[in-house]
Every structure is written in C-alpha cells, then in structure tokens.
Symmetry: C2
Amino acid sequence: MVFDRVVVAGVGLIGGSFALALKAAGVARHIVGVGRRKETLDEALALGIIDEASVDWASALRGADFLLLAMPVGQMENVMAAAAPHLEPHTIVTDAGSTKSDVVDAIYRYFGSRLANVVPSHPIAGAEKSGPSAARVDLFRHRKVVVTPLEQNAPHAIEAVRAAWAACGAELHQMTPAEHDGVFAAVSHLPHLLAFGLVDDLARRPNAEQLFDYAASGFRDFTRIAGSHPEMWRDICVANRMALLKELDAYVAELARLRELLDAGDGAGLEKIFACAREARTAWGERRG
Amino acid sequence: MVFDRVVVAGVGLIGGSFALALKAAGVARHIVGVGRRKETLDEALALGIIDEASVDWASALRGADFLLLAMPVGQMENVMAAAAPHLEPHTIVTDAGSTKSDVVDAIYRYFGSRLANVVPSHPIAGAEKSGPSAARVDLFRHRKVVVTPLEQNAPHAIEAVRAAWAACGAELHQMTPAEHDGVFAAVSHLPHLLAFGLVDDLARRPNAEQLFDYAASGFRDFTRIAGSHPEMWRDICVANRMALLKELDAYVAELARLRELLDAGDGAGLEKIFACAREARTAWGERRG
C-alpha cells in the first residue's frame, strides 16, 4: 500500500513523526502539512518533515489519499468542521487523539457523510518536547496504537489506517471507543489528575517551600507527570470526563477505605493493600522489562 | 570527636551504611552490631561492616559511647524496652526512624531516665535493596538528615549526633518532631499511600490485565513507589497516622474540587490548577538540578 498524497493536520511531535515515518517506510509519496500557524509549517518544511505546507483545506485535500488529524483534542472539532467540505470521497481519515468517545461524536457530527472512511486511532507515544523539531522517525516504533473502528467503517479503510501505523513500526491494537476511554482514564488520565492535584495542593500552602525542600526521589517520580502540558491535559480531562469521573470516584472510594484503616490503626489491613499493590506493580514492571 | 565503641542496632541498609561511613571517616574505633537474626549479623561481620556481633544487649552496651537504632519503626518499642536497662549514663543515642512523634513517645516511655542523651533523627536516604549487602559507605553523602531534638537534650548530645551524621557526609537539618512528621506526611507518606491505593484499586478489577497492558511511562513513574516494602510502609503509616490523616483529608478535598470542575466541564478551572502544579513542579525540578 502506497499513498500518493498524505495530508497531516498538525505537524508537531505526533504529526511530524508520522510524516517522517511514512516517508522513511516509502508508503507516502507526497506529504502536505496543514496548520494554524505558518511559522510551524515553515519549520516542518525546513526540517524536511513535509513536502508542502498549506493553510488552505480545499487545496490541501484535493486528491488526498490519507488525512491524519494530529492536533490537540480541544481543536479537533474546529479542524473537522473546516476540513469536512473538502474531503474527497476516497480519502481515508484517522486521528491521533488521546480520547476517543469525543472524537467519535465529532466524527458523526462533521464527517457524517464519510463514515465508511473515518477510522479513529490513538498512538500511545509522547515525549517531553513538542513541535516539529521534536518529531522523530522512530517515535512510534514498538509503541502501541489503538484503533477504535466505527460500525460504519469500511474494512479497506480500517486496513489502510492499520497499515499506515504499521509502517511507522507500531504495534496495532483494537478496541471500542468506550473501552479505550475507560482503559486510559484509569491508567493515564487519572494518574495525571492525581499528580497535578497533589502538587497544586502543596504549592498553595504557606510552608510550600519547606515541603518541597524535603521532597525526595519518591516524590520526584510520583509527580513527574504534574510537569505535563496544562492545556493538553485540560482538553483530555474535559473530553474524557465521563470515564474520568467514574475512575476518580472509584479512587476516592479506595482512599476512603485506606482512611478507615489508618484511623483505626489497622496495620494488617493496610499491609494487605500495600502487598497487593506491590505484587501487581512488580509483576507489571517485570512483564514490561 | 571519636567514639571508642559504637553500637548499631539493625545492620541492614541504614545501620550498615552508618557503620561503614563512621569507620571510613575514622570516628568510630569499634562497632558492635546488634540484631534479632544471627544470620544478618554474621553477614554484616563477614562483609566487614561491623567488628563484633551481639544478640545480648547487656554486653553490647557495656562501655558504649553511641547507639544507633536502625530497625523498622514498628520494632522500635521492643528494641528500646530491651536496651533501656543496659544503657550507660554517658551513651549518646539516636535513631533512624522515618517518623518522629511516635519515636519520641517511645523515648519518653523507655528512656525516661536518659532524656539528656537521646536525640531523635531521620536520615532521608534509602535504596531499592535492603539488608547488610545493600549497605554503602556513601549512602548518606549529600543527603539530608533531620535531627529533632527534645527539650531535655543536652547540647553536647545534640552535637554528638549531628557530628556522627556529618561524618557520614550528610547535610544536617533540624525541626521539632511534629514539624518533621507533618512535612514527611505531605511529601513522602501521602504519595506512597496514594500510589499503593491506585495500583491496588486497578489490580482488583476484572479487567486488570488489560488495564496494565496499556499503562505507559507516566503510570510507571507515578506508581514506582507502590513497589515499596509493605511492612515498612505499614509501620510508617500507622506510626504517623495523625499527620497522614490530616494530609489525606486535605488531598481528598483537592480531589473534590477537581471533581466539581470536571463535572462542570470547566476547562479553564482545571487548566489553572494544572498550570499551578506544572509551574511548581518544574521550579522544584530545576532547583533540585
């Protein structure tokens, strides 16, 4: 499978790495970058990430075989609204959004006439840096990509999206959008919320400076994700708030159980929970290698 | 300052490293290890960590200038009860417990006649491994040690305890026991409880395996401390439960605020909290180098 014309909307870390990987794998002949900011597009062009830059959807999408939507989830709706009128009947579309139910809602609203060809996906990859200069040809190599097809998707469209990510070296997985959002609310979105919350709580104390002075390596690792991008995580949390609220409630119930044990000085009860956690965490770490 | 006879009760990571460091600094002439398990003492002896092993408090403490209590906090009371009748009037005592209010309580109960000489302390150092073989001469180098003197402490006793830790290369700090426990409840004990709680919550789900399959590097760092020793953390949590309950309640209140914002889809409110956290976390990381 070779795509003659691939359009990448959002040429930062994710979109840029996708473009580099498709080109390196020889599955994209011509790559057009689309974005809001001309400087970002110029940078991607100068870095050889894209072959052509465009701020005009009509010309960018003319004859396009494949479109990747790789902007923050908060911008997804506006981008879909702008792109929809210019989508060719044969263009295969996917996205790289961190949440899927909200993206699917938007797909139904804006791409309703093209549902056969619009296959949502989520590459589980990221890095500390962002922007075109952070893009890497191997960002997706051996990383998971979760494809969450719609009932209406054509088999060849699902296959094309899977093939594009496979060309990037990714490991393909498949789930429903709701299942995806539940899983990532639990193992990604909730931990981010919890880490942001702890650091915010401490930072607002009158003795914040003293507290941070005595924080050590456990605190460092626990709060690393509190250094994540506020705008991006705002968008993810709002987009996935139904699943995230459910996870938050389950976690608060767990904390209530821990509080009872603590209050009662029930060392054996606490140790049981800690031991279960340690066993699961250690086994996971070992599986992961 | 040179100690002719130093007794180290508990010759694992902390006690063993203390012994190695005092010897290397030339401030301890003869080091006696005391412990419950003969094999551990024999191992410490074979590794050259101690000069003499003893399971008998009376002979171990005879003529001792300095005693370090370096066992888990849960064993502190029993050890104090056993050591108290054999303490010489001139012996300087300190401990390496992670909590201080409970240790101070025990000091008043068991070492009531020796309060001038018993100066609590807490070295902020640890490692993944434990036992004598994990001991390192440089474990305390450039690490903080918090000394929490009692009103009744003699100045020369405080000075001796500070000098011993300084000989290990540590950076000396001083607080009240209550202040110590509040600070460490916030920046160490609470994060451990939160990480144990999250992993336990997920591990008990029917789809635990799927959840862990999709956990990535953010989850890895956030939950690293959930791999900590259950017995040790049970003891710390129970020992410091008053301060820890206070911190847990403050954190649950923060989560309630986050829940309200999420439920209302208040992206701006969430972003404000995330941005405050990110700024504080980044500044802390930079100060820390």
